[in-house]
Point group: C2
Chain length 481, copies 2
């Protein structure tokens, strides 16, 4: 902060405006549930309200805040509303926001251990804590052969794993020679689109991604995977990567890690497990069955920014063999050389991912874990799962609705029995009401509504209200038909 | 925020602790220049101070803040100290921190226009503002064929450009078939390590990256590039990407964009221009010569998180042909389909980059531009350049030091005349003093000190103090010899 003559915000101004922003956020969380969840602006409306040219002179902060309120807020889809049930959530919480604020204030860039030892060491430490909290296999712990690192998203984690898999499968030659072998990657037909994006980026090509069929629970059929790998080997191709999912985006399906893992071990194929949302459930011993077989995986990712009340972005990516990862990503130009790195006594996380620079993201995660404690986190996971189970029960007992998939945890897939068009109209009507926000998918080629109960502030009354609105809207549409 | 019984931080607590954190940050900026710039902790020291196991029960926020102060702070290398001259900076400012705080509070995830129209439209708008502020070629403006998007880092921007280049060079087939042609990429021997990382990730391979020699000013020799492309064509290879730099990391060298651009146009090769730090200088008309020839580029990136007082991460990536980018990155699973996207009336930024999810990063950038205005930003850029020029003059006039490279803007490369060992000892001594933080590089295979004058709060007195300390430390070392 500076003095008045140099354009910087002064220390006093920062304190004053900082309080105003903190109060604004507190007020926002107290009123967000009254706002229409899905923004109702039309394309171009926000831009039209903004001045076409940037300001030549600085403007008062009061004016900026007031424009934020008047222009930006109507264009917000409220991910922090307790009535947000769309996609997977992207949750915040008080301690996370404040941890992130301190990270912004410190403004450190942790590319090397040296450029802020605490940024690296807290990250390693908190990811080891998480390995313990989730009861992950020992090999993912930094005291063993592996360790954890924060990535931005599960998409990036999947790409990172695939690149390490590509290198391992080509004896670490592709990085140098370019990709020359024809490699093959595998995931279930229900896997996230990030796997397809990753095979494209890695140069493997989407034609060499095999989408393995799923069973009646939308989980990968392990025997079909085994057959496909065998077939590809016979064709002279090199299987290199399997992406398994714990909690698919469409329906929270759980791939059978144990069987998939045995196949991968036998075939020497890298197994990456994406548990982006559902992974957090393993905080509770009663839900740990979802990761049975994880000890056979080479890498694992889950996102505290989804269901663990930690601001986006925060994906925790664990590898069993950190040497494979570092060998894939390490680059050492002169201007980054330093004694601490050369002794090998420290971790330099820039060798663990695509980017060089990195924010101090473990701070918000540390704040969340300490504020809630394991007990507080479990309390919310259990509440969300219980609410989803209750909601699934209501659907199941309703004559007009049906469950479209098993609901093992906190995502309920359901549909009205009247078919695709009706469900589309129902979805549009619900979302236009502003009282909740749901999204859809297709399961068994049928339009399916997804109700993901995982927002930080969702309580029983919100879910009950949602169910009432869904029933009432369906009734109104039925009357129109 | 919740009530007392559900473990969430209450609204009152958030307001109270939020103020404490805001005050902490304000105090920090008032005292940061007294702290040792480079952290003095030893490897493992931070971890040793942290409890080995995560807390079962939640802890009071006061305790968390106090541990932050006691344990974390000593492990911080102070990037926000006015005495930070290392690498390139990663600057913050008051308006940026508060814009980022609002973004954390809103917690929106802007993968689609629909998931917060303001997150997308403000980003397009502010990047158009920047195109105007920097006088970028019309084609990078969203009203033309191109447009801008915020990426995390210049590394990711280079990779993104290279992937689009790879696809364009292979008629958009590599994404599907995998990379089958042998492609070649080019950059100068002084280019950032991210280019090498990108050719590896993209499957092109580091053997197919040609490091083109530089001239006496460490800028790419365009005629050598032309010759190399010709040679590669004769060998049956496919040139696909040239990475040119405006302000190299080692010495702020400026590649000749005009000549390089002509070659790329003639050869149909994608030209990406990385101006990570130096690009901000183009806010001032008198420095716009650095981007002469940019109208021949296919993509351009610069980082407001370096020299434009906007919190890391914030890289602005512009493309001339957005269709090429979208064709490279677009994936459309059912659960992301929506009417707004299908009309084509909106931008969905998830098709413009590797990740799917994205934060609301344009908010901090908007706050910075509005708070400072073009005038305020120019004031600081001009001050930094003037200080660097003054520092370069002192070096030049000193009998014991010499300039190691031209210093066109705000980075001064210099060395003591006594050779590599002496300069290494000088660097260690300076950094151990805690009074400043410098880093090094090698130029003409000689150890070179880098003094990058670009930190938000660096003023003349800091630079003067630094030069006095450098002279004094050199004198003391000379006495020991």
């Amino acid at each position: 902060m500076g003095d008045q003559t140099n354009y910087h915000m002064t220390s006093d101004e920062f304190r004053r405006y900082g309080r105003a922003v903190i109060d604004w956020i507190a007020d926002y969380y107290q009123s967000v549930e009254q706002l229409p969840v899905l923004s109702t602006v039309k394309p171009g409306e926000i831009r039209a309200a903004l001045p076409p040219h940037p300001p030549a002179q600085g403007e008062p902060f009061e004016k900026i805040l007031s424009d934020f309120q008047q222009i930006i807020l109507p264009g917000i889809t409220h991910w922090q509303s307790p009535n947000f049930y769309a996609f997977f959530p992207a949750n915040t919480s008080g301690p996370s926001i404040l941890g992130d604020l301190l990270s912004s204030g410190l403004g450190v860039q942790g590319m090397l251990w040296l450029t802020s030892p605490a940024c690296t060491e807290l990250e390693t430490h908190v990811l080891d804590w998480l390995a313990e909290m989730l009861d992950l296999p020992e090999k993912f712990h930094s005291r063993s052969s592996g360790g954890g690192v924060i990535q931005d998203t599960a998409s990036t984690a999947a790409l990172t794993a695939m690149l390490a898999a590509r290198e391992r499968a080509t004896a670490y030659a592709s990085n140098e020679t370019g990709l020359q072998e024809r490699l093959v990657a595998y995931a279930s037909s229900q896997a996230h689109s990030s796997i397809e994006k990753a095979v494209k980026i890695a140069g493997i090509g989407s034609q060499n991604l095999r989408l393995i069929p799923v069973d009646g629970r939308f989980a990968m059929r392990a025997e079909a995977l085994a057959r496909q790998i065998e077939e590809d080997r016979r064709a002279g191709l090199t299987p290199c990567f399997v992406g398994a999912t714990v909690g698919t985006t469409s329906s929270n399906a759980l791939d059978p890690l144990e069987e998939i893992g045995r196949i991968c071990e036998r075939e020497g194929v890298w197994l990456h497990v994406d548990a982006a949302m559902a992974g957090t459930a393993a905080l509770c011993p009663e839900f740990r069955y979802i990761q049975t077989g994880l000890e056979r995986a080479d890498s694992y990712a889950f996102n505290p920014h989804k269901w663990m009340f930690t601001n986006f972005d925060c994906d925790c990516f664990f590898v069993a063999d950190r040497a494979a990862l570092i060998r894939t990503f390490s680059i050492l130009p002169e201007y980054l050389r330093n004694q601490a790195s050369e002794t090998g006594a420290v971790i330099d996380y820039r060798d663990w991912h695509i980017q060089l620079g990195r924010r101090f993201r473990s701070l918000k995660l540390w704040f969340v874990i300490r504020h809630y404690g394991i007990e507080g986190l479990r309390y919310h996971i259990r509440s969300h799962v219980a609410l989803a189970q209750e909601f699934a029960g209501w659907v199941d007992q309703s004559p007009r609705f049906e469950l479209a998939a098993p609901a093992p945890l906190n995502l309920v897939c359901f549909r009205h029995r009247a078919g695709d068009d009706f469900n589309q109209r129902l979805l549009d009507r619900l979302n236009q009401s502003g009282q909740l926000y749901l999204t859809h998918t297709r399961l068994d080629d049928r339009m399916t509504l997804r109700m993901c109960i995982a927002q930080t502030h969702t309580e029983r009354r919100h879910v009950e209200q949602a169910w009432n609105l869904i029933q009432q809207s369906a009734h109104e549409l039925e009357m129109q038909a």
